[in-house]
């Protein structure tokens, strides 16, 4: 028996060629669909509305919402491994004489008593919200550890921002807290949250 070795593969016929094209197209579609689904899941939002406080906001779905504390509401990304990225909206009464600085100082004095290694990183004034509302932003850091004394938890360095806006005789404090290592990465969610916030 003898064999002939061809230098080139035989040319693909029409059907084979379109099979390859379709495979590539379906693969691309699959990737696009997957990316789209992932993004829609990642960036899907729920709506929080509190007519009493006059606040409405969109926040990432699957974030745990809590309105039982001394804040209007708090959102935590409990699916996150490690420190749970948190958004919080607090309202405080102010007088006509109250300055932004006085409110931030009050926050600082209270936090310095309860948070470990609390340190102000900087105060930005004016700070403009996405809708051009003018406010003041204070960034800070502290070490957070689990409250349960029976677990072995290493403290996490947390970075935070308070955006303070004085409006309608009250101070609205929008807080963003995140693990310092993922602060920039998660900031996109906070920006979206700020953009959706109506008060």
């Amino acid at each position: 028996m003898s064999y002939t070795i061809l230098d080139q593969a035989p040319p693909l016929n029409f059907r084979q060629r379109w099979n390859h094209y379709l495979l590539v197209i379906f693969a691309l579609l699959g990737v696009l669909l997957g990316t789209n689904l992932k993004n829609s899941n990642l960036f899907s939002t729920s709506i929080y509305s509190n007519p009493e406080a006059g606040i409405r906001a969109e926040y990432p779905s699957n974030w745990l919402i809590d309105a039982s504390g001394d804040y209007v509401f708090r959102l935590r990304n409990t699916t996150e491994i490690g420190y749970k990225t948190t958004f919080q909206v607090t309202v405080r009464p102010v007088s006509p004489q109250t300055t932004s600085r006085a409110i931030l100082d009050s926050l600082t004095l209270n936090r310095a008593q309860i948070l470990a290694a609390y340190k102000i990183l900087g105060i930005t004034s004016p700070f403009f919200l996405p809708d051009e509302t003018e406010g003041t932003a204070m960034s800070y850091t502290y070490a957070d550890s689990d409250n349960d004394p029976f677990l072995e938890s290493v403290p996490v360095v947390v970075r935070g921002i308070d955006v303070l806006v004085i409006k309608r005789g009250q101070a609205i404090i929008i807080t963003y807290l995140s693990d310092a290592q993922t602060f920039e990465q998660n900031y996109i969610f906070f920006n979206k949250f700020l953009a959706s916030l109506e008060f």
Binding site: S61, W63, A67, T79, I81, Q113, D146, D148, P149
Partner: protein
């Protein structure tokens, strides 16, 4: 359903968890020793000297609320001459087989030095940072109704046996007796057969349900043999007797019933504080600097409702199960340490002895210690009392050879006589007037015997009657005192003798104006609220406060009370007592607007508040007021019993624990499909630690046929497939704590 669920469509039932849930561990499931051990803390009292903390005292305590209230002894926590430290450090057993680790700082929330009980509130981290108590979720124990404890009941005592070097320890025994004193009705102390090391004083004694029935208590005497130096406090590079010595105490066999702690716990949990004022001046009890002394020791077979002896005896028949040693005391303070040693036929009898404990009575008066409902074997008993280690004369009694034919007097009752010669009134508090009478029962008397009645006023003989008996053999009769100028208000005593032998004695009080046969001592008892005590004096009386108030004032007027008369003031909320104080009267004889001020750290909580005023254990005045809805709010975190759920979450590929994963346990009303990421549907949240371990900070309620309780759980971590489960039930057969290992697979 959330998008994530629709996307993943992965629902992995807790197969391993359910296997464990259904496994039977019927070994006395209700006594969860580990929970009790975790709730037991080691307390260090320390003094700041320069930059150093010098430990001054140490003891055990027990966490009694999830937000950090710790029940402990007062002698080693509240500042005193023997324990002068101002800082309290709370150490927990993070690992139960290791010594405790200092975690928190605490402050005194409520205390009763005489009862030797204190409630501490954890307020700071060890580094001094303030703690939001609502964020604390500590293991805690429930208080049992200690009045239901019976003889021979098994007790489990938990505490720290050493000064910080030993892990938490468990000692078992039985209740082998009850000690009765004027303060505490049926049992002021429970005696136990358990041999409890002195450092476990302040810990917890538990029943079979794991509820706190008593606090093992002893107070160390200030002697070098009962203390240990542990630090080089004088910096001479030696730890010896020249350094600060930590009192350790001897072996404990007495438990202070947990019912004594209830008022403190109720007051502390509501943040309530009571201050007594007269004309806006804070009253301070009279105190003496002289050495404490015991006087006039005698025995009685019974005590009446006013705390008075039925009769005076020297012998008792066989089969006796009730005996009380009465005595007078002077110059006592809450820091006085007293002890009773009993011997039977010369052999020490620990069952009826009382180890050194703090004094829970006033500064002077009459007291008794004894027991009822407990058989006293035949023999010759010798009772010796000690005050601060100094012995008083011994009292002797024979049980088993009673002379039933000897004359006896008993059951003295005081009052004003009606036309038929019967005493009228409440028996032991008489109104001011010219006369007071006593009726008593006599037995085995013979006409012609010499008998004597001696009346005392405030400890001094007032009048004496010597007479020849002519009333017959058995019956009852009366004797009286009269004064044309009137009997002054004060504390009176009657002693009845036959042939110079004391047969009966009793005390009574004359106070107040006469209203028929009854005294009107306290009047116009009312409530009000105001910004200041001065404003309260003129504020209108209110019995229904529709809104919460920052301060509640109770005011009353009084008349004809002699200084030094012991009186009691009590506050209750929703029928539960949270404050009681028995002190000598130190205001003028008569006056208006005695102020008792109730305040709270915030506003006075909603509830029905009652104030009661007593003299000689007799209720003379009370008033009630409603605040808000008239009922205390329900604490949904008050449940201590149940199953502790904990475990580890591991990566299925690496088998290593995953740190920082959140375990969400839903309230029993909701299933996983109901969950919309709203916190009000969450029963508890737990986050894994560095090793992937988690612990749910609230116990799971037991599910029963009548009341099924099923929880749902969700574990979702970015990068892993989620795990969800419905129908998680625990029963008394479930292992407690419930430990499980769960594996997460990468998505």
């Amino acid at each position: 359903m959330t998008m994530l669920y629709r996307l993943t469509k992965v629902v992995v039932v807790f197969a391993s968890l359910l296997v464990i849930l259904n496994s039977s561990h019927a070994q006395d499931a209700s006594l969860d020793i580990e929970r009790l051990e975790r709730a037991t803390v080691f307390i260090l009292q320390a003094n700041n000297v320069g930059n150093e903390l010098i430990v001054t005292c140490a003891g055990t305590g027990t966490i009694v609320s999830r937000d950090g209230l710790v029940l402990a002894n007062a002698h080693d926590t509240v500042q005193s001459s023997t324990c002068p430290g101002e800082t309290l450090i709370i150490a927990l057993s993070v690992r139960l087989d290791e010594p405790p680790i200092a975690q928190y700082r605490a402050e005194i929330a409520q205390s009763d030095p005489g009862l030797d009980l204190a409630l501490l509130r954890i307020t700071r981290e060890l580094d001094g940072r303030l703690i939001d108590s609502s964020a604390l979720s500590l293991p805690f124990v429930e208080l049992a109704d200690s009045s239901t404890v019976s003889l021979d009941e098994t007790v489990t005592v938990v505490g720290y046996p050493g000064i910080g070097n030993d892990p938490v320890s468990v000692v078992r025994g039985t209740v082998n007796g009850f000690v009765v004193e004027p303060r505490g009705s049926d049992a002021a102390w429970m005696k136990t057969s358990a041999v409890i090391p002195g450092m476990m004083s302040g810990g917890g004694a538990y029943n079979r349900l794991g509820q706190l029935i008593g606090i093992p208590t002893t107070t160390p005497l200030s002697t070098s043999s009962t203390c240990l130096p542990i630090q080089d406090t004088n910096r001479d590079r030696l730890v010896n007797s020249d350094d600060v010595c930590i009192p350790i105490g001897g072996v404990i066999n007495s438990l202070r019933p947990s019912n004594f702690a209830r008022p403190l716990l109720r007051g502390a949990s509501l943040g309530l504080q009571v201050k007594d004022l007269v004309s806006n001046t804070i009253l301070t009890p009279l105190e003496s600097s002289s050495a404490p002394v015991f006087k006039r020791l005698f025995f009685s077979p019974a005590v009446n409702e006013a705390g008075m002896p039925a009769s005076v005896i020297r012998t008792l028949p066989a089969g006796t199960n009730s005996l009380y040693l009465f005595f007078d005391y002077e110059n006592f303070t809450p820091e006085t340490i007293y002890e009773l040693r009993v011997t039977t036929n010369g052999i020490p009898n620990p069952t009826f002895s009382l180890a050194p404990v703090r004094w829970s009575g006033g500064s002077r008066g009459q007291w008794y210690i004894g027991s009822s409902g407990q058989p006293w074997p035949n023999g010759i008993y010798e009772f010796t009392l000690f005050a601060n280690g100094v012995a008083a004369p011994t009292a002797r009694l024979v049980i088993g050879e009673s002379d039933t034919s000897a004359p006896s007097f008993s059951d003295i009752v005081f009052g004003l006589l009606d036309l038929r010669g019967n005493p009228l009134g409440n028996g032991y508090v008489l109104p001011s007037g010219n006369t007071a009478s006593a009726r008593f029962i006599f037995r085995n008397m013979e006409n012609g015997l010499d008998w004597t009645a001696i009346w005392y006023l405030n400890g001094t003989e007032f009048t004496r009657t010597n007479a020849v008996w002519n009333e017959g053999t058995d019956g009852s009769t009366t004797t009286s005192i009269e004064s044309q100028t009137g009997l002054p208000p004060g504390s009176y005593r009657l002693e009845l003798y036959v042939t110079n032998r004391l047969l009966a004695t009793s005390d009574f009080t004359i106070a107040g104006a006469q209203q028929g046969a009854l005294p009107e001592v306290f009047a116009n008892l009312r409530f009000t609220t105001a910004n200041t005590p001065e404003e309260a004096l003129t504020a209108v009386s209110i019995s229904n406060f529709s809104e919460q108030v920052p301060t509640l004032y109770a005011l009353f007027d009084w008349q004809q009370i002699a200084p030094g008369t012991l009186w009691t003031i009590r506050w209750l909320v929703d029928g539960e007592q949270f404050y009681e104080r028995t002190i000598p009267w130190s205001a003028p004889d008569s006056g208006k607007n005695y102020l008792s001020v109730l305040s709270s750290s915030g506003a006075v909580p909603d509830g029905t508040y009652t104030i009661e005023i007593l003299l000689n254990n007799l209720l003379l005045a009370s008033a009630q007021a409603q605040v808000g809805i008239g009922q205390l709010p329900i604490d949904r975190f008050a449940q201590a019993s149940g199953v502790l759920m904990r475990g580890q979450i591991r990566d299925a590929n690496t088998n290593l624990g995953i740190p920082g994963v959140t375990v969400i346990l839903l309230n029993e009303e909701f299933s996983v499909s109901d969950f919309d990421w709203n916190n009000n549907k969450v029963f508890a949240l737990a986050t894994t630690d560095t090793n992937g371990n988690f612990q749910v900070d609230r116990p799971l309620r037991y599910s029963t046929k009548d009341q099924p309780v099923a929880y749902s759980a969700i574990i979702i971590a970015n990068g892993y497939l989620p795990i969800t489960a419905d129908g998680i039930e625990v029963t008394t057969a479930t292992a407690n704590p419930l430990s499980t290992i769960l594996y997460l697979s990468k998505d």
